[in-house]
Symmetry: C2
Subunit: 336 residues, 2 copies
DNA sequence: TATAAGCGGACAAACGTTTGCATTGAGGGT
DNA sequence: ACCCTCAATGCAAACGTTTGTCCGCTTATA
């Protein structure tokens, strides 16, 4: 049997309310009794029951983090844990805990979000998603629960945090063009994901600014992160018009692509230059070291939490967006 | 204002207890009222308050997962998220949620665990640790809270799940020896971590069985995962007696080592064979593809949860251990 | 017909807190 | 000596559930 506030009260010969006020450090309690109660609390190894406390003051100090398909390969990507780390570190600082919900299907996601919003256990939600047709988001908007999405969302009523993926695509393409490339493949476009769409658009913009015609044949679609770049790159290498540069939507894709290029007897960057996105730890150690874009996932996480706190704490409705700067990291894989 | 069970009761002209029993699908409620109440619940968009429920029946369906230094680089390692995914998927199936606690310091860990155990919010804890002098573990043992550690622990009163790291070291070394190697370096030994100690011992055993003298100079210490293998490998390459094989305690270390070897103008595996541990996704795509050991982190997670459930559900005290088999994956980096 | 049995539902206590308000007692001003 | 004030503490309601017990009604049994 756990020791409760009344046990303390009895032992200290005061009322439970007094004990409660001691815990809250209420100034109306005299120093003498405060000290006595505290001593007894130590003696009996008392710890307040968070559930009971939550019930009365309707606040749990818990936020929910909903991630898609943790069971799948996607979570093996270093991006997720770094993001999670950002959220967690900020949350910790402010005395919040994180309820982690991993969902595999859309239905599961909807059900989980429903439970988290109405169950009274979380005060706010951070949702990881980059698919743009997300019914969960609409649902959250509808019932006015505080939430922040990581990943740009077109629904105007949502608060989100993201990198500027358009700019990322633009900067990468510009970098290639400045290095003298004209035929630049775009690897890993995935129509359902806004991330890749934005990046592709940025890429197009850069081409346009330099009067390079856009060639749809150079865009290779894939199921976002999961597909491996090796196979995708092979698709490119068999084409008659071989590109001299490859922008991959993810470093892992880029690694696969480089391997395919090597196998074809070509060199990186001399024959084909390759860049990835996300700047995974290995990018720097790969052979050749891979040009990439540092996404600052950790900051993405801290910012998301900060935004969520703002929303939860404020009476006035508002819709916020935050852009976390990404930075191009040029390495040998794109430098002659 | 959230809609409560009494709101439903009023509207349905029944008592709150009846509504509660409808939710619990209690057979004492007639089909007619059950149907009526359910309809009204839908209409009013009712969802039970989990906090209140938890308070009365002393069960939250939440388990805590305590990870060290999420804020640090360690969590970027694919191992953690895969493990987390295993825990989460199993937890989800059984209607449990996960409270994620990331702690940066030992003090923080102790404080967090105290809160989780006494706060009444979690029913059990999974602790990730591989340091063997862990005061948190002793604390948990002392107050009899159900918990499982991921990582072998010497304290006899703890339940744990782990790979057989001794066997992993043994198998890797044997593999090298069978390939004709005699001078095999061991990269990434970290005295504070049982996992690397076990692996080193397995390695020694294999040497001994083949009458190869153990040479301490071939063991390169490092701060577990964080150090990069590139620098460590350089330390080896300057030595007069160059090994022909390298066992790295982690794939990331191995990648760095390979890079250093290449830079020194040597080839893998012809001049020096290299193997890692953990079998990260990239191991298969690296150049050359890296021999590694599949750790099955996902199973580690599911098993840990399963064990925790067993402990929580059982009255009788018992101390359980589980070994998740690891499997050697031989690739070109160690094959002539 | 009287009564036991059984069904469906209501009542109220309990879970461990917090908090507005009431109560008590001491001290000070008149 | 009286009242007022104020400080320190106690009382009890409330948060939203669950659940043991009791009650009234119907139906079957003797």
């Amino acid at each position: 049997m756990r020791v409760t506030i009344t046990d303390i009260a009895k032992r200290a010969k005061v009322s439970p309310s007094t004990v409660s006020r001691v815990i809250a450090d209420n100034p109306r309690i005299s120093a003498a009794t405060k000290e006595k109660v505290l001593r007894i609390m130590k003696e009996m190894n008392y710890h307040p029951n968070i559930i009971a406390r939550s019930l009365v003051n309707q606040t749990t100090k818990i936020i929910g983090v909903v991630m898609p398909g943790m069971a799948e390969q996607s979570l093996q990507h270093p991006f997720y844990p770094e993001l999670l780390g950002g959220i967690a570190s900020m949350a910790n600082n402010q005395g919040y805990k994180i309820l982690l919900a991993n969902v595999s299907t859309v239905d599961e996601e909807r059900e989980m979000v429903k439970e988290l919003t109405f169950g009274g256990i979380t005060e706010g939600i951070i949702l990881l998603t980059s698919r743009d047709d997300n019914p969960t988001v609409d649902q959250l908007v509808k019932n006015g629960f505080p939430f922040v999405v990581i990943g740009r969302t077109e629904n105007p009523y949502v608060n989100w945090v993201d990198n500027d993926n358009f700019l990322i695509g633009y900067q990468l393409a510009t970098h290639f063009i400045e290095q003298g490339h004209q035929e630049i493949a775009f690897l890993g476009y995935s129509p359902g994901y806004m991330v890749t769409r934005d990046r592709l658009n940025g890429y197009k913009k850069a081409l346009q600014e330099h009067n390079i015609p856009f060639d749809p044949a150079l865009v290779i679609e894939s199921k976002f992160i999961s597909d491996n770049g090796y196979d995708l790159m092979k698709q490119i290498l068999v084409k008659e018009k071989r590109p001299t540069g490859v922008i991959a939507c993810d470093d892992l894709l880029a690694f696969g692509a480089i391997r395919a290029i090597h196998e074809a007897g070509l060199r990186v960057p001399e024959d084909i230059a390759v860049a990835g996105i996300n700047n995974v730890p290995l990018a720097d150690y790969y052979n050749p070291p891979l040009t990439s874009v540092k996404i600052n996932a950790f900051s993405l996480g801290t910012k998301a939490f900060e935004m969520l706190r703002t929303i939860m704490g404020s009476e006035i409705q508002s819709y916020n967006r935050a852009i976390i700067p990404a930075e191009l990291v040029v390495r040998s894989s794109t430098q002659r």
